[in-house]
Structure formats: structure tokens, C-alpha cells
């Protein structure tokens, strides 16, 4: 349309667009397509019935049902817990609210499979410390709670996933214009009526969107089910995919079952993401206020102390207790010994950090993989986001569509996809190398990078660039001097959003690791499977320390940047 503009940036714009599309196609779209292809394409023909047959097999069908049961339980539990705590810390006179709020966010940083390990130590039917305590000292004849159950698995998932709802609802409640509630009050409604008729309906979109996120996460969640379910024969979709691929060493049947299950996951994810967008798009009320007063606080009166104690107990039970157990077990000389001073030492930690090759390799692998993936994904993400948010080029629509993909592809699907894509069928064989894990990490974390970078780019108003053009700067000079410096905080955020979770990654790594390419998550999991409980716990403890240190660094940075 415009002559000079297209002339000056013709080549460049097209190159950037092409590169962006290429990255997303190679890293995400191609593996997903291969899964769909393998699921439905048998012996050179489309075979939908075959895929249905596989789903109908008792074991696969059971896994589907289990995924659904666990995800439903987890979602309902998390939504109730998250909404309740969010309401408690934003709308009542609960004592020490700020402290409580920061504590409720802690589970976000903790890897749920490490939590699951801790709960296994505490509540496994025979050996769990709590169950044993009740049997030995209080005369119980059997375990008081069996963690190897649907309820057990869902409960543990709730502990680590409820912050998704908590954060969303807290945000909505805090931003909500207090006069919306005050006008109900002046209309004659009491605080409980207001909560029921005004507050909850207004934040319902936030509650639902958080709930759907949890649903998506739980359906595709590997760690907790792997640690707590498999012992009792409870498989969900990701664990069954892992089991099949792992057991059979990549046989055709296993791959096919895997791809069919993965397809189910992809479809569920697409439905959930669609529903979430729909809710956030149309149903989101404009409830953000102008004047800000402190919102009304519900006086809890007699319930104030009991509720505070309840919150503290919840924090102690779900956060402190499992963490302490991990560190204590990690310090034991042998699993099964009592926690007496004589039996505890730091030897295990020394051993895994300096002497034991498996764990040393795992830490090295996770750090280098996480760092490399974070750097690559950060730069790729900023480029792709720039095209999507800022550039006006033909063909952008394709990229916008591709850019949604990373958000809706669960980890185990990515893992299976990269196996199909990079095991030699297409000329490149990365199987059993760290490179295949790297590719999978990039695909898995692209969504984080796109989110952080687009948010940062949207803050850079077009007029800032136009102002620099008017000052005589060319397109490239404007990019260098104005755009890049302004999105740097977004890029940094993207880096940490990828680096930290990748340190504890399990779902993808477990499907792709080879003996020399274990990551921290894989090492913790496999050591535990092999009965090396204390070593596994010690490594989990180290992982927790690294994650908490990393999180403090981020908090420090974001506070300084004033974000």
C-alpha cells in the first residue's frame, strides 16, 4: 500500500515474520501435528475408528476417567480453598493479612511432585510417619489416611494449585471499585448479603478463569499422580503415556496409544482455553474503580481468632510440615531410622553435591538446560511478540494463531511430539541427548515468554516510536534506542519465569532423559523409585533451596524495577 515504508522495511519485516513462524512451526506446531498424524493415520489411511478402539481399551479408558476424576476434584477443591482464602485476606479483618497472603503464594514456587514425595513419607498407608504414629502410639489398627487414593492425590494437588485461583480472585477483589459494595450497603444490604449477591458474582469470571487454569494443569499433571498413584494402580493420561513409552522402549503400539491419549489432552486443553477466553472476553465486567478507598472489612468478631488459627494451621500443615519432612529425611543416615540427633547429619547433602555423579550431573544439566532454554526462549519470544503486537505485515494472522499454540499444549504432549519429530525419522536424531530436552523446554516455556514480552510491548505506546522517528531516527535506531530498553524488564521477567520452573521440571524431562541426561526432577523421581529415599529427599531439599534463592532474586529485581 505505502510505497517507501514497504520499500525500507520490506525485506526485514518479511524476514522477521518468516523467522518467527519458522520457530513456532518447528518447535511447537510440527510436533503437535505429528501426534495428530500418528493418532489417526495408520498404514497410509485415516483411521478414526482405530483411535476410538484404543480409547476403549480398559486401561486407557480408566486413565482418561482418572484424569477427569482427579482434575475435577482438584479444581473444585482449589476453587473453594482459593476463593475462601482470597476473600479472607482482602475483605475481612483477619489478623496478619499481609503475612498470610505471602504465605498462601508460597506453594506456587514449590514443585508439587516434591510435595507429593513428602506426603508419601507422611501418609503412605504402611510406612507413612503419621499413619505409623497413630498405629504405634494411639492404638489405631490401620492407617488413618491413605494418600494413595483419588482423594489423596487431589488433596495434594489442591495444596499446590489453589494459588492459581487465589491470585486471580485476590487481584479482582483488590482492584474492584469499593463503591460497588458500598452502594449495596447504603441500599440496606448487610455484609453477608453483599458478599453473596454483589461481590462473588462480580469476581465470578476471575474465579472461573482460575478454575479452568487448574483444570487444564491437573488434567496434564504428571508428578503427583506418578508419585502417589502408580503404587495403587491409579494412572492418569500423562502417567500412562510415560508408562507405555518407557516400558516398551518406543514400540509402535505404545507410540500409537501415546499419541491417541495425547490427542485427547490436546482437545481437552483447546476446549478449556477456549472456554477461558470466552469467559475473560465477554463476561469480564468493568469493575475497576477510580477513587480508591480502602474497601470495607467484614468484622469477623468471634470468628477472628479461630479463623486465624485455621489459616496458620493450614500453612503449617501444607507448607511447613512437608518442607521440614523433606529436609529431615534428607538428613537421615538410612530411611526408617528415628529422627534423633544421632541419626541426622549433613553427609547426604555433601554426598549429592560433591561425590555422587548422578546428582551432580543432574544439577549441572538442569542449570545449563534451564539457562540455555531461558535465553533462547526469551529472545525468540520478544521477536515473535514484537511481530504480533507491533508490526503491520501481511501474514501476521498465521503467527497470531501459532502464538496461541504454546498456551494449549501440555508438557507430556510436547515430550511425545519431540520424540516423534527428532528421533531420526526426519533426518535428525536427538534422542537420548540433552538437545531433545532443550527443544522440548523451549516449546514448553514459549507461552511464558510470549506472555511476558507481549505485556511489556503493549506498554510501549506507538507514539513513543513515532516520536523518535520524528526526531530523525530510523526504524532500526528507534528499535535499538527506544523499544529494546523499554521491554528489557519484560525480557528479564521472561527469563526468570522460564529459568526457575525449568530447574524443577519433571513432566517433559522424564519422557526424554537418558542415563547421562537426567535433570534434577528426573533424578529426584528415579532415586525415589529406586528406593534411595534419603538421597532423593536430600536432592529435593537442595532443589527447594535453589528455587527459594532464585525467587528471592526475582522479587528483589522486580521490586527495584518498580513492577
Amino acid at each position: 500500500m505505502s510505497s517507501i515504508k514497504t520499500k525500507s522495511s520490506f525485506g526485514v519485516a518479511q524476514v522477521i515474520l518468516f523467522l518467527s513462524i519458522a520457530i513456532l512451526v518447528i518447535v511447537v506446531a510440527f510436533p503437535v501435528l505429528l501426534i495428530l498424524f500418528n493418532a489417526f493415520w495408520v498404514n497410509d489411511e485415516f483411521n478414526f475408528a482405530g483411535a476410538l478402539e484404543i480409547i476403549k481399551e480398559p486401561q486407557t479408558f480408566q486413565a482418561l476417567k482418572n484424569s477427569l476424576i482427579i482434575a475435577t476434584g482438584t479444581t473444585i477443591g482449589s476453587t473453594i480453598v482459593g476463593t475462601f482464602f482470597a476473600w479472607l485476606v482482602t475483605r475481612t479483618d483477619l489478623p496478619h493479612k499481609t503475612f498470610m497472603k505471602s504465605m498462601f503464594l508460597v506453594p506456587f514456587m514449590l514443585p508439587s511432585f516434591i510435595g507429593a514425595l513428602a506426603w508419601k513419607m507422611l501418609l503412605s498407608p504402611n510406612a507413612g510417619f503419621i499413619n505409623q504414629f497413630f498405629i504405634q502410639h494411639l492404638g489405631f489398627t490401620g492407617p488413618i489416611f491413605n494418600i494413595y487414593s483419588y482423594i489423596g492425590i487431589s488433596t495434594v494437588e489442591v495444596m499446590y494449585l489453589f494459588p492459581f485461583v487465589f491470585i486471580q480472585v485476590c487481584g479482582a477483589l483488590e482492584r474492584m471499585d469499593p463503591t460497588l459494595e458500598e452502594s449495596a450497603r447504603i441500599s440496606g444490604a448487610g455484609l453477608f448479603t453483599i458478599t453473596r449477591k454483589i461481590t462473588i458474582p462480580l469476581v465470578m469470571p476471575s474465579i472461573l478463569s482460575g478454575a479452568l487454569l487448574i483444570m487444564l494443569y491437573s488434567m496434564a499433571h504428571f508428578g503427583t499422580v506418578a508419585v502417589l498413584g502408580i503404587e495403587n494402580g491409579i494412572y492418569n493420561i500423562p502417567t500412562l503415556i510415560y508408562e507405555r513409552i518407557h516400558q516398551s522402549g518406543g514400540s509402535f503400539d505404545a507410540i500409537r496409544t501415546g499419541t491417541v491419549l495425547a490427542t485427547v489432552l490436546v482437545i481437552s486443553a483447546a476446549i478449556i482455553i477456549y472456554a477461558q477466553r470466552k469467559i475473560l472476553g465477554s463476561g469480564h465486567y468493568q469493575i475497576i474503580g477510580g477513587k480508591s478507598f480502602r474497601p470495607m472489612e467484614l468484622k469477623l468478631r468471634g470468628l477472628r481468632m479461630p479463623l486465624m488459627i485455621f489459616c496458620l494451621a493450614y500453612i503449617a500443615f501444607t507448607i511447613v510440615l512437608p518442607t521440614v519432612v523433606i529436609f529431615l529425611v534428607g538428613s537421615l543416615k538410612t530411611y526408617g531410622l528415628a529422627f534423633t540427633f544421632d541419626n541426622l547429619s549433613l553427609d547426604n547433602y555433601k554426598f549429592i553435591l560433591f561425590d555422587y555423579k548422578v546428582t551432580r550431573d543432574a544439577i549441572f544439566n538442569s542449570v545449563t538446560l534451564g539457562f540455555t532454554a531461558a535465553i533462547i526462549t526469551m529472545f525468540a519470544g520478544v521477536m515473535i511478540s514484537y511481530v504480533i503486537v507491533k508490526m503491520k505485515v501481511r501474514g501476521k494472522g498465521i503467527l497470531e494463531f501459532l502464538g496461541m499454540l504454546p498456551f494449549s499444549v501440555p508438557g507430556s504432549v510436547i515430550a511425545l511430539g519431540v520424540i516423534l519429530a527428532w528421533s531420526g525419522q526426519f533426518g535428525i536424531n536427538l534422542y537420548n541427548t540433552v538437545w531433545i530436552i532443550l527443544v522440548a523446554y523451549i516449546a514448553r516455556y514459549m507461552a511464558f515468554s510470549l506472555k511476558a514480552n507481549s505485556a511489556a510491548l503493549e506498554q510501549v505506546h506507538d507514539s513513543l516510536v513515532e516520536a523518535s522517528r520524528a526526531c530523525g531516527a530510523t526504524m532500526w535506531q528507534s528499535l535499538r534506542d527506544i523499544v529494546l530498553p523499554l521491554v528489557r524488564p519484560g525480557m528479564l521477567a521472561a527469563f526468570f519465569l522460564i529459568f526457575l520452573p525449568s530447574l524443577r521440571e519433571l513432566t517433559v524431562s522424564i519422557m526424554l532423559y537418558a542415563p547421562t541426561t537426567r535433570t534434577i526432577g528426573v533424578a529426584i523421581y528415579t532415586l525415589n523409585e529406586d528406593g534411595e529415599t534419603v538421597i532423593s529427599a536430600a536432592l529435593a531439599g537442595i532443589a527447594l533451596i535453589i528455587i527459594i534463592l532464585g525467587q528471592s532474586v526475582i522479587n528483589h529485581f522486580t521490586k527495584k524495577a518498580g513492577v
Binding site: 458500598e182 452502594s183 449495596a184 450497603r185 447504603i186 441500599s187 444490604a189 454483589i198 477510580g290
Partner: protein
């Protein structure tokens, strides 16, 4: 007859006294405005009347009902006070239809369905919203949303209506229209209004009486015309319209300019009570200064440093020594050109002591 009564109402936030010992009474059916710059405590006062803020000291009464009194440990929560209230940011509930928004206070009171329907419709009719009854308020303009808020406040037939800057989120032309609507509704239903605003012309146009407030302290309570004609102090003068302050030093019953660049006419005399002040301000409104001929003994000489045609008015900037005055004349009034020496005459000079 006084209906709403505030006695020594005080609000402290930590060490800061936001509202300092406020006393006033409002008659039944009166429109009473609280006017002041942001942070002067007017909104805090309104929120204390509504019951959203606790009082640190004092009492709030409506009729013979005591609403708040920290001394007597008495506090009636907002939902029991039976007020109508309208907020700046509309505060209509987006998840309820226009009709349900207005019916809400009636449903809370558990009135029979037929009465809810009848009173809701009446309130909607009074605010010209009947046709939009089943719509979501999200689809209404700012003015429409504020009408819903008004209708909701009207539905319970309150004796007192609290309005917290209800028009400042609206476009200027809509603001004027809504102002008249509020006034009409008041005349029709006869409720008292406590109106909070920082816009002096809004307060002037609506109110029977105005309270001017600064830093939590009452400056003046009076009718709009009296506030305009007899502002109690320099703050009130400056807050209710464009204003000039010309610094002058008293000398032998007259004044001289601090830089003595021009002779101040002998006719411009400060009141006797201010003769001992070290420095005075001669306060004037730009519209209350006339140009006069150079020989006029009542004329103060200056130079036109700027003249701007603004349509209906012509805006002059006059330099008197090193001080600057603003003069506004109608577009038909003759006036000097930029750069010209001129003489000005103050129609209504006010004198204040400079601190």
C-alpha cells in the same frame, strides 16, 4: 428546621486531623454542598455521615435519631441509615440489569413483589430509564449509568440523599444537564441533599447553602450569593472563581505597590482594620475590572502584555509593575491592544492580609 445535624464531628487518621470539629445543620429538603479542593476532608465528612468511616469524635444526627457517637459508643451501620447515595464512579452493578439494580434496595427490604415492581418503575420513570429497564448497565453511557445510580438511590424514597462528586466523571455538557435533573428530582421528591464537589459553579448552581472547606476546617457556610458577595477570607475568594491578587503595602491609610512602580489611586483604600498589616492583597475578579481613561483618578496604570480573543470573552494580561493581573471583558467591550499603556478600575476590590 434542622434535620441532619453534625456536632463537633472530627476525624483523625493517625496524627493527621482530616476533619476538625465540624458543626452544621441541614434543613429538610435543603440542598447543602460541601466544597473544597481535593483532600480538604469533604468526602471523609460525607462518608462519616453515610457510616463508611468511624468518627474520632462528635455526633451525627438525623432528626431525633443518633447515627454515630464514639463517646456513647453508638454506631449505626450504613445499611441501617436509610440514605440514598450516588458515587463518582457510578457503582452500578454490571451483573444485574438496570431494573434489578434499582429493585435491589427494595428486595433487600423484603417488600411485596407488586410494590417492588411499582416503586422500581416509578424510579426508572423519574430518571427516564424505563425503556432501558432490561438492559445491562454496561451498555449505557456514563450519563445513563449515573441515572441508574440515581434511580437506585431514589427507589427507597430516602429523606437524605448523599452525592459524592456524582457529575465529575461525565462530559461537561452532560454535567450541566444532569445538574438540572438532580435539582428537579429534589423538587419533586423533597429529600435533603448533601452534595460533595470541588467544582464551585456546580455548587453555586445547585445549592441552597454551601460549606467551603480547607484542610479539614470550615471556612464559610452561607448561601451561594453571600459566598460570592462576601467571601469570608482569601481562600474562599480564590476558590470560587478566577481571581487576581495584587500585593500592596499599607502607608498612611493608603497603599503603595511593593516595587513602587506605579502610583496606586487614592480611592483604593484598605479597610481601617487592615492598616497595620505589613503586606496586603488587593483581590479582584477578572470580570470585575474595567478599563478607564488614563486621566481617571481612580485608574491604576499598567501595560497590556497579552490579549487573547476567546470568543465570547477577550482575555487580557496587564502588567502593573512586576505584578500581573488578568482582566476579562465581553467581546463587544472596547479594550486596549497588546503593548499599550492602560488604566484599570476595580469594580469590587476585596482586601486581605498577606501572611
Amino acid at each position: 428546621m434542622s434535620y441532619v445535624r453534625l456536632v463537633n464531628v472530627t476525624k483523625r487518621f493517625g496524627d493527621v486531623t482530616a476533619v476538625n470539629s465540624l458543626n452544621f445543620e441541614i434543613g429538610k429538603g435543603e440542598c447543602f454542598s460541601m466544597l473544597g479542593p481535593s483532600g480538604c476532608g469533604k468526602t471523609t465528612t460525607l462518608r462519616m455521615v453515610a457510616g463508611f468511616e468511624d468518627l474520632s469524635d462528635g455526633e451525627v444526627w438525623v432528626g431525633d435519631r443518633l447515627l454515630s457517637s464514639p463517646k456513647k459508643n453508638h454506631y449505626l451501620p450504613p445499611e441501617k441509615r436509610n440514605f440514598g447515595m450516588v458515587f463518582q464512579a457510578f457503582a452500578v452493578w454490571p451483573h444485574l440489569s438496570v431494573y434489578e439494580n434499582v429493585a435491589f434496595p427494595l428486595r433487600i427490604r423484603k417488600l411485596p413483589d407488586s410494590e417492588i415492581d411499582q416503586r422500581t418503575k416509578e424510579a426508572l420513570k423519574a430518571t427516564n430509564l424505563l425503556s432501558a429497564a432490561n438492559e445491562s448497565p454496561d451498555f449505557l453511557s456514563g450519563g445513563g449509568k449515573q441515572r441508574v445510580a440515581l434511580a437506585r438511590a431514589l427507589a427507597i424514597n430516602p429523606d437524605v440523599m448523599l452525592l459524592d462528586e456524582p457529575l465529575s466523571s461525565l462530559d461537561p455538557h452532560l454535567r450541566e444537564e444532569m445538574r438540572f435533573e438532580i435539582k428537579e428530582l429534589q423538587q419533586k421528591y423533597g429529600f435533603s441533599i448533601i452534595y460533595v464537589t470541588h467544582d464551585q459553579s456546580e455548587a453555586m448552581a445547585l445549592s441552597d447553602r454551601i460549606l467551603v472547606m480547607k484542610l479539614g476546617v470550615v471556612q464559610q457556610i452561607d448561601t451561594p450569593l453571600n459566598i460570592y458577595n462576601h467571601p469570608a477570607n482569601q481562600f474562599v475568594f480564590s476558590f470560587i472563581g478566577l481571581s487576581n491578587f495584587l500585593k500592596a503595602i499599607p502607608q498612611d491609610g493608603h497603599v503603595i505597590l511593593p516595587d513602587q512602580s506605579e502610583a496606586v489611586p487614592m480611592t483604593l483604600k484598605p479597610p481601617d482594620s487592615l492598616r497595620d498589616a505589613a503586606l496586603l492583597s488587593l483581590a479582584s475578579r477578572p470580570s470585575e475590572i474595567d478599563f478607564t481613561h488614563m486621566e481617571d483618578p481612580a485608574g491604576l496604570h499598567g501595560i497590556v502584555s497579552r490579549k487573547a480573543f476567546l470568543g465570547e470573552i477577550i482575555d487580557y494580561q496587564i502588567k502593573v509593575g512586576d505584578q500581573v493581573l488578568r482582566v476579562q471583558k465581553g467581546r463587544r467591550d472596547p479594550g486596549p491592544e497588546p503593548g499599550a499603556v492602560c488604566a484599570i478600575h476595580f469594580l469590587r476590590p476585596f482586601w486581605y492580609k498577606e501572611k
